[in-house]
């Protein structure tokens, strides 16, 4: 376990991570192992994150060492696509039982690895640690080492039991496993000056293939993709690439940065969501490859492809622009993809009314603000009811979000489009952008919405649940508007720190009383942000806001 905690500390101290860099020394020490809030947490565990990051490697066997819950409840539910081997979709688990817990599960794990190699002959086996065997002390590193030596097949330990932290930590621990055990262990058959690694791209719905033909056309070889449609030998030899693109920025930043450090492979952070982002990324790929010795003419050819693809895409999208005039989109998405999707939708002439920035850093928020202008309506933790109100007030005509919030839109009989992991459509590159616009148009103008919004003939429209919910919320708002004292009370009662139950008013008072200027100071006086730490951004925002409040008084 000590080596795992060292790895975690090491992963936290990621100089390439903007979020980490923007933290104070003390915060950095705490790392990103936010203690999640019991009874108020959502999202996957570290094991989940590790599996998401590595399972798209298509030709290896992914073996989960733990009780049935970890694999049995979740297998074959990712939308990645493979161009070849299907063994990644075969589920392997030790399904540990009481005996394994009492006597240790190492023997079973070793036998399981043997059974897999005998029956399925994969080029490698990835072994995922989970909470239960981590608690009982199964040493998967030792078992993997022994099995690899005995069976002559690489067996890679992925040490990210669920309880060490959230999904994002798991992503990074998965990256560490690749760095420690896979990358650099093989030599490629041949190399070219056009060899590119793509890092942090999972080929959901096969979307990598929306971009790959353009790279093929330019003669740029996807040397290895980590990990979408990835193959073990390609990743093992990926240290010989000339340049790298990091797609989903923070998921595998440690891989990109350490490959630069160890093997001198320069990388950039880019996105293929949206036309401009796609063009920028292609340009950057060409630039980096030329810098690393590819012939200069690659740049000219890339520009030609960009010009042609942009023209094609714009022409396709132009047809929709009149249809989208005045249409407003509520965008709810976790994490860093927000800003690239925002840019993409604006290209189509849609107006954005908000985007969730739950997982984004301050810098991400700035990017979104810049892209969306001053009116940006930032949605931190909208409640379902508020989301509904926002949709209902016709501030938004359609909601784009991940699977979890879809039911709010659908129950409110509002158009909705899935843009997260479980989605069935691919939205990457120029063709993907056109596809997204097509899907939005289909959703917006589907006549079904008029049908489903019709009240039942026996309903009194004034008494249906929508009307009642709206009336309640409006009454509340009106009451507050009429009563400035209560409005101020309500404003001050906003909970900022959930763990320590600290409201905005308490923090503002402390800032005024003690002339506080830092999050640390606020923590000292009010305990806010002293729990899980998730509210640090909100606490910091109060610091920004209070001086104005003081000036106004």
């Amino acid at each position: 376990m000590s080596s795992l905690s060292t790895t975690i500390q090491n992963v936290f101290n990621e100089p390439g991570c903007e979020k980490n860099a923007s933290k104070s020394e003390a915060e950095r020490k705490k790392g990103c192992t936010k203690q999640l809030q019991p009874g108020g947490a959502a999202g996957g565990c570290a094991f989940d994150g590790a599996k998401i990051a590595l399972q798209p490697i298509t030709d290896v066997a992914h073996l989960v060492h733990g009780p049935i819950a970890c694999e049995g409840n979740s297998w074959d539910n990712r939308g990645s696509a493979s161009s070849g081997s299907m063994i990644w979709r075969t589920s392997f688990t030790t399904d540990t039982n009481e005996n394994d817990i009492i006597f240790g599960g190492e023997k079973r794990l070793y036998k399981a690895i043997k059974e897999i190699i005998d029956k399925y002959h994969p080029p490698a086996v990835f072994v995922y640690q989970t909470c239960v065997p981590a608690m009982t002390g199964d040493d998967i590193n030792a078992v993997c080492k022994a099995a690899a030596a005995k069976f002559g097949t690489p067996v890679i330990p992925v040490n990210a039991p669920g309880f060490v932290g959230p999904k994002t930590l798991g992503n990074k621990l998965a990256g560490e496993a690749l760095l420690d055990y896979v990358i650099g262990t093989r030599e490629p058959e041949y190399t070219t000056p056009y060899d590119l690694n793509i890092i942090g791209e999972f080929n959901l719905s096969g979307e990598l293939w929306q971009v790959k033909p353009l790279l093929d056309e330019l003669g740029i070889r996807v040397f290895s993709c980590i990990s979408g449609d990835g193959k073990y030998n390609e990743i093992a030899a990926s240290h010989r690439a000339r340049a790298a693109m990091m797609v989903c920025s923070r998921a595998m930043i440690n891989v990109a940065r350490k490959m630069e450090e160890r093997y001198g492979i320069p990388f950039f952070e880019g996105s293929f969501y949206g036309i401009e982002d796609s063009s920028d990324s292609l340009r950057e790929i060409a630039r980096l490859l030329v810098e690393r010795g590819a012939p200069e003419e690659l740049i000219g050819r890339t520009e030609a492809v960009i010009a042609r693809e942009e023209e094609k895409a714009w022409a396709a999208i132009a047809a929709y622009k009149p249809r989208f005039k005045g249409k407003r989109v509520l965008l709810i998405t976790g994490g860093v993809k927000s800003w690239s999707v925002v840019a993409a939708l604006q290209e189509a002439g849609l107006e954005l009314v908000g985007t969730s920035v739950k997982k984004s850093t301050k810098e991400d928020k700035e990017k979104i603000k810049e892209l969306m202008g001053q009116d940006a309506h930032m949605i931190e933790d909208m409640t379902p009811r508020e989301m509904y109100k926002m949709l209902k007030d016709a501030q938004a005509d359609i909601m784009l979000s991940g699977g979890r919030s879809q039911f709010i839109a659908l129950k409110a009989a509002m158009p909705w489009l899935d843009i997260n992991q479980e989605r069935h459509h691919a939205y990457m590159g120029y063709v993907g952008m056109v596809a997204l616009v097509e899907q939005i148009e289909k959703a917006l103008y589907n006549p079904v919405w008029e049908q489903v919004r019709k009240p039942a003939p026996w309903d009194n429209p004034a008494e249906n649940w929508q009307a009642i919910a709206m009336a309640q919320m409006e009454a509340q708002a009106a009451e507050l508007a009429a009563d400035p004292v209560r409005a101020e009370e309500a404003r001050r009662a906003q909970q900022i720190c959930n763990c320590k139950a600290v409201d905005l008013g308490t923090i503002e008072d402390a800032i005024r009383a003690h002339g506080l200027t830092s999050v640390e100071g606020i923590k000292e006086h009010t305990s806010a942000s002293g729990g899980c730490g998730a509210c640090v951004e909100r606490v910091r925002d109060t610091l920004d806001a209070v001086p104005y409040a003081l000036a106004a008084e």
Partner: protein, 455 residues
Amino acid sequence: MAIVTTVKKACTVNPLKMSQPIGGALAFMGLRGAMPLLHGSQGCTSFGLVLFVRHFKEAIPLQTTAMSEIATVLGGFENVEQAILNIHKRTKPEIIGICSTGVTEIKGDDVEGYIKLVRQRHPELDHLPILYVSTPDYKDAFQDGWAKAVARMVEVLVETPASDAPCDAKRVNVLPGCHLTPGDLDELRTIFEDFGLVPSFLPDLAGSLDGHIPDEFTPTTIGGIGVDEVATMGNASWTIALGEQMRCAAEAMKAKTGVPYRLFQRLCGLGPNDEFIMFLSEISGRAVPVKYRRQRGQLVDAMMDGHFHIGGRKLVIGAEPDLLFDISSMLHEMGAKVAVAVTTTLSPVLEKVAADEVLIGDLEDLETRAKALGGDLLITHSHGRQAAERLEIPFFRMGLPMFDRLGAGHLVSVGYRGTRDLIFSISNLLMADGEIHHKPTPETWRTTQVDVEAV
């Protein structure tokens, strides 16, 4: 009589089984205003949540005590306390149902003790029922978690009626197993009501996960049986348990309230429904309504129409014990041979399955045997899709999870009508498969070199 065999191998490949904490959590989702809570790492909840969302295509209430590594080692009292307080404050539930997981069971967290302590420290929770069920992941299966949770609900929530309290002749308690869908429960409710009976379903997924539009946005369940109604189940005249898994809960009800029970192991097929309908007629004192006499006739007709397609089929089935027994028996009664039967956990019904052998195993075992024995109809949950593709045989999805087709919650197999429609669906699938894959050609019956050599 089938022999029940547990497959011996170290590595489970393509699991059929799911864990018991989420089975327990699903049971709590059949209570009104409930918030199920898994005591474990946040992943335990997240996987269950995604699974149910994809199956029911509904918002799912499910929370976590979010145990970290340190909390796990030191014990989870604070996490349990915080979780209860947070849920109470934020979602105002009518009940919280806690299921343990592997990791907290290994530590040996005394959750019952924790709850007592939480109650002492927080009198504001006095009126909030908090139930705990021990459901370690490393034992048993989904169905067991469900059964244990329901038994616990009976033990804790049902009140013992006063000794002189008259029972309500019309009232019946219904304890459905987790192999029944919300659609099944709706169908059953109609049948009970047609006999003038007033059923209380515990749990009642039909009220909460049937896909209706809620009256209010709530983070807890949007329907299901209320705690108040559960409390009065002791006044009923009968308890009807559906599926062998519910025997424990029915026994608990009898012990606590004295209400007698009748257990129906199956509700799919002609014979089981004849028994069921006659029992309802007997306890209600009413003649069987014309509607059901007609439905019986329709089922008999459907069985005759369907047997051309189902008769002689080699069925390959993977399901939890009660579903396996129910569906395979119905198809067996129509002439299908149960060639391969794989299940997740032990149950007394397994040896009654009309197969030579029932395996406690996984979908790899199912696939290997299906290939060897030439199975030609696969029935299991959505995870069978890869096997079906490789085996190239028609695949009918039943059980949980069913994430790659719509209508999982409304697939009905109970009653005369439900059986009739299920026979149609399966027969149609087989017919469509025949049209696509088994059209005769001039070569179909030609003697080949292999045949010649064989002679």
